[in-house]
């Protein structure tokens, strides 16, 4: 049955239209969840707000459980899903850079657009920064091309790497997620600011 839309089934060009529509709703939901505030987004680094981590873990475990169930029921064929290839150096360096930008700028790329859309000046500056970064990356691509594409391990899955079933990995990940939920709740109690105003 699934995936509903197979790779290459959407005509070229339309994928941008669909991405645009999904993106609008994604932005609305993020804004409503308070992710247009850099205080909320960087809260987990300083220990007073762990919403970001909780949202990521929640999304991950809901999707994981859904996918594993659908696979079991034969509704979805994992072989037909697109899996990003793993470039080890790109992941490590890119992740570190992104994390630094996250902590310094107070947004991640998606949330900065949502925040810029509601008129936050810091977010607009952040978006400008993204553009400059994209420009430098694109223009200087020949310089980091080799590093960027080095250590390609293809569409690598942790379950293949560890030799465990997807169900067992989901089980482990749910445990990790809930340990994080309860652990961050305890941390938050210790570091939370009572009178934090997210609107300014």
């Amino acid at each position: 049955m699934g995936p509903l839309v197979k790779m290459g089934e959407i005509a070229a060009g339309w994928d941008f239209v669909i991405a645009f529509i999904i993106g609008i709703f994604f932005g609305i939901v993020m804004e409503q969840a308070g992710f247009s505030s850099s205080k909320k987004i960087t809260g987990w680094i300083y220990g007073y707000d762990f919403t970001v981590i909780r949202v990521f873990f929640t999304a991950a475990i809901v999707a994981m459980i859904g996918l594993v169930f659908m696979q079991y029921l034969g509704w979805i064929n994992f072989g037909e899903l697109f899996i990003n290839p793993s470039y080890i150096w790109s992941i490590l360096l890119g992740g570190a850079l992104m994390g630094a930008g996250f902590a310094i700028g107070g947004f991640c790329p998606g949330t900065s657009i949502a925040a810029a859309a509601i008129g936050k000046i810091d977010a607009m500056v952040f978006v400008l920064g993204i553009m400059i970064g994209v420009f430098i990356f694109a223009e200087g691509f020949p310089i980091w091309d080799d590093l960027y594409t080095a250590a390609n391990h293809g569409p690598l899955l942790i379950t293949d790497l560890l030799g465990i079933s997807k169900g067992v990995w989901t089980f482990i990940f749910i445990l990790i997620a809930f340990a994080t939920f309860w652990g961050t709740a305890a941390l938050r109690k210790k570091y939370a600011h009572k009178e934090l105003d997210y609107n300014n």
Binding site: A12, V68, P109, G110, D145, N152, G167, T170, W182
Partner: protein
């Protein structure tokens, strides 16, 4: 009071997810087919979109369309003798070779996510084999040159004027385009012949190696 209610919700959610987690633990894995199912393959083939016509490819070459990646699947000798402008050579005999990561070697020279790959051979057969393999490996935007190089020579290099009595304006337009294309490729081939002699002197293999570029992922 409010706090207690929240705590109760958290505990309930935790309990529900723990039950789900235990179910997950005992769910058996299904075998995953990494290649496209034969049924989907036939569907793709019959869709009629598997071929690019010689006119379409000629126009893309003339327009210098950067998305086009022609792949010559004939032997290296044949490739050295004649090839379409901008084509790279991946002989069909080498198409099943794999590297140490168990990936097909030739895949590295294509850019499936960004480029439109058009396989061609003298006829249809070799290109169709390459197309089948690439499509089964779930590569995107993979096509074959309809009729192969034989058709290329018939239509582009020796265009035939349409019959004056029955021809439609479209046929005339196609003929005009082919005459123009013939002039274009006549020149391009003359230039290429010279460069091939130079290459033969240097005794280098005609396999053009391209840097691989792979698509970006998502973020938050």
């Amino acid at each position: 009071m409010e706090h207690k209610k929240q705590l109760r919700i958290y505990l309930l959610l935790t309990a529900v997810f723990m039950v789900l987690a235990i179910i997950m633990f005992f769910l058996p894995d299904k075998r995953v087919d990494k290649e496209l199912s034969p049924r989907t393959l036939i569907k793709l083939y019959n869709h009629g979109n598997a071929y690019y016509s010689v006119d379409k490819v000629a126009k893309m070459i003339i327009d210098e369309n950067p998305a086009l990646q022609l792949v010559d699947v004939r032997s290296e000798a044949e490739f050295a003798e004649f090839s379409l402008p901008g084509a790279i050579n991946i002989p069909l005999e080498k198409i099943l070779e794999k590297d140490e990561h168990n990936n097909y070697v030739w895949k590295e020279y294509l850019r499936p996510e960004k480029k439109i790959t058009v396989f061609y051979s003298n006829g249809d057969l070799k290109a169709a084999q390459a197309w089948t393999l690439a499509t089964r490996l779930r590569m995107d935007k993979v096509f074959m040159l309809e009729g192969g190089l034989n058709n290329w020579f018939d239509k582009i290099m020796t265009p035939e004027a349409p019959k004056a009595t029955t021809a439609t304006p479209e046929e005339y337009a196609a003929y005009e385009f082919r005459k123009m294309a013939k002039t274009f490729f006549g020149r391009a081939n003359a230039g290429q012949a010279a460069s091939i002699t130079a290459e033969e002197n240097a005794n280098s293999a005609p396999v053009v190696k391209k840097k691989k570029v792979v698509s970006e992922g998502g973020g938050c």
